[in-house]
Symmetry: C2
Subunit: 347 residues, 2 copies
């Protein structure tokens, strides 16, 4: 069915209105009327083909999608008409590999991303959430708790799970000391989630101006990474550090903050980082990466957020503002995530 959307025609064009086709709900699909879609940094990189030449056009970005089910396929068992649901970064995977069986579909070689991907089952390209509606296999749809502020739920589908998954995978326990590097869309979710898990949360930032906000979000301490004396006081004391900074930076001062056998997890870095082996070797420390989370884990995260009343801090915009929002995001001028009100696209 014809669907109004916002997207780009090529790597240099602005985000603008366009029409796309959405399939009717097949036997295993749900059709979702999109209410809100968050804007992720990766939307900008993919729209502008900044990830090594792989972008596919035309492109409708958006993988932080919240809406209500408006059609259900004949075999759908998990969702009902009118139910509040979410779609994140994936709309399918091979479903047969070791990763899929482990509930780690995000690591499957056959993952079908929500946009900027070829759709192997239905042909053509996948189109994301900057649109009126989307049709998705029910196995890649999650249920959204009704008690949360719906518009602020959208960023949980990418930013939220990107932080929740490593906090769980590295088994954060109450009382452990957890560092979150960088206070942006990802980092502010890390502070909220780790704090709700009972961890002692330290916001690690280059900017003293972020201290008050970090504390408001739930951080117990703020560590200014340019302050050598403060860094020395925290040496070898962290149980886990999650690094959300997307630009090239020196990882070594942060590695030195970890206890023996502990890990710093990269969830943001796109540029290479330099690692001194000696910093790892002297305490058997580890540098790891983590990519979003699996579908079951995303559901678990939403349930956790429902229980602890956690959502993203958002600034609501209408669709025509997307290009300006991109510019502001590149200047870190948003607290902390833009969310598009999709009624603005239907008008």
């Amino acid at each position: 069915m014809k669907t109004a959307a916002y997207g780009v025609q090529d790597a240099t064009s602005p985000v603008a209105p366009m029409q796309i086709d959405r399939r009717e709900a097949g036997p295993h699909d749900v059709l979702i009327d999109i209410e809100y879609c968050g804007i992720c940094h990766s939307d900008i990189h993919q729209a502008r083909n900044e990830w090594g030449g792989g972008s596919l056009y035309p492109m409708v970005p958006g993988h932080e999608i919240v809406g209500r089910v408006s059609q259900v396929g004949t075999h759908v068992t998990k969702f009902k008409l009118g139910q509040l649901v979410g779609v994140g970064c994936m709309v399918d995977a091979c479903r047969h590999c070791e990763d899929c069986h482990a509930g780690e579909e995000q690591y499957c070689e056959g993952t079908v991303f929500t946009y900027n991907a070829k759709d192997p089952k239905h042909g053509g390209l996948t189109f994301g959430g900057y649109a009126e509606r989307i049709t998705v296999d029910e196995n890649f749809v999650v249920s959204v708790p009704e008690n949360l502020d719906t518009k602020a739920v959208a960023p949980l589908l990418c930013a939220g799970i990107t932080l929740y998954s490593p906090l769980r995978h590295w088994d954060v326990q109450a009382g452990q000391k957890v560092g979150i590097i960088g206070l942006g869309g990802l980092g502010h979710m890390g502070v909220k989630l780790a704090s709700a898990m009972g961890a002692h949360v330290v916001m690690i930032t280059t900017s003293a101006s972020k201290a008050a906000d970090a504390t408001r979000l739930g951080a117990h301490e703020v560590l200014i990474s340019k302050d050598a004396e403060a860094m020395a006081k925290h040496a070898a004391s962290f149980d886990l550090i999650i690094d959300t900074v997307p630009v090239a930076h020196d990882l070594n001062p942060y590695i030195g903050l970890l206890k023996r056998d502990k890990t710093i997890v990269l969830v943001g870095p796109l540029d290479p980082v330099e690692v001194h082996g000696a910093n790892l070797i002297t305490k058997r420390r580890q540098v790891a990466g983590s990519l979003i989370g699996g579908i079951a884990e995303t559901q678990e995260m939403l349930d956790f957020c429902g229980k602890h009343n956690i959502v993203s801090d958002v600034e609501m915009i209408e669709a025509p503002y997307i290009n300006e929002a991109y510019t502001r995001m590149l200047n870190s001028d948003v607290k902390y995530r833009f969310v598009i009100d999709m009624t603005s696209i239907k008008a």
Copy 2:
């Protein structure tokens, strides 16, 4: 007691005969008549003050020590006169911290290294194994199986445990695919040990000329890292990779060889390595470091080697040849470890 040794007076002097004092065996000490001492790359770096200005002179290097007990202190319970024993990289630690209680003395902040360290209990500096004898607290001495070729045991005390510990810590199981990068003093021990653990061992090297020797040592496959096609065939297939290369190199091609959630462990790198976050993130891979092993684990390693008849491949030398051995080591001209016959120093 006056003891003949070989050492350096400063960062530029050659390794030459010198006299040192060894203490008599105190209540908890054993005095060891040294039979053999291996030469480790770190001996060269420390003798020449190449590790950031911290070298202490005069210095007697050597931390791959095998000999026989010639005195036992009044409270010594673990060792008897005449027993074949070994001393590795440490002669003491704080014994009270979390690391020490966990049997991970090598990560203790109070570790006393076998040479090039201040001796907090006895004053002065510690002197290593390029000497007639050494006095060591029994808790930092290990028992050497009598069935092994004694002279070839010496390198197990550093090179052996440096590879054994990560193989155990990352829990290598029979049938798993383990990669060892670099065929030198460390790497050749990795091949032997991983093979004895039942792993499918792949020697990863830049040099096709090393294939035959790797196979002789127990490798099941040889992967030439410059061969892009071969590297692609092995992509995402390894359960563990241990990187023994001591010079700066690009870690990213090796990271791509790991399965999801698996680890590449640095045991050699002294120079910084560049890591692309994306290579870690896409399969939640990890880069770790590992430092020698604890005392109990060193004993476990020696017992394992005794059971599986594993020793180092060595070239025997006499003490006056040490300087030439250093030069040859820097040219990778040894298969695979020099060991000094300490009767040459007593003459």
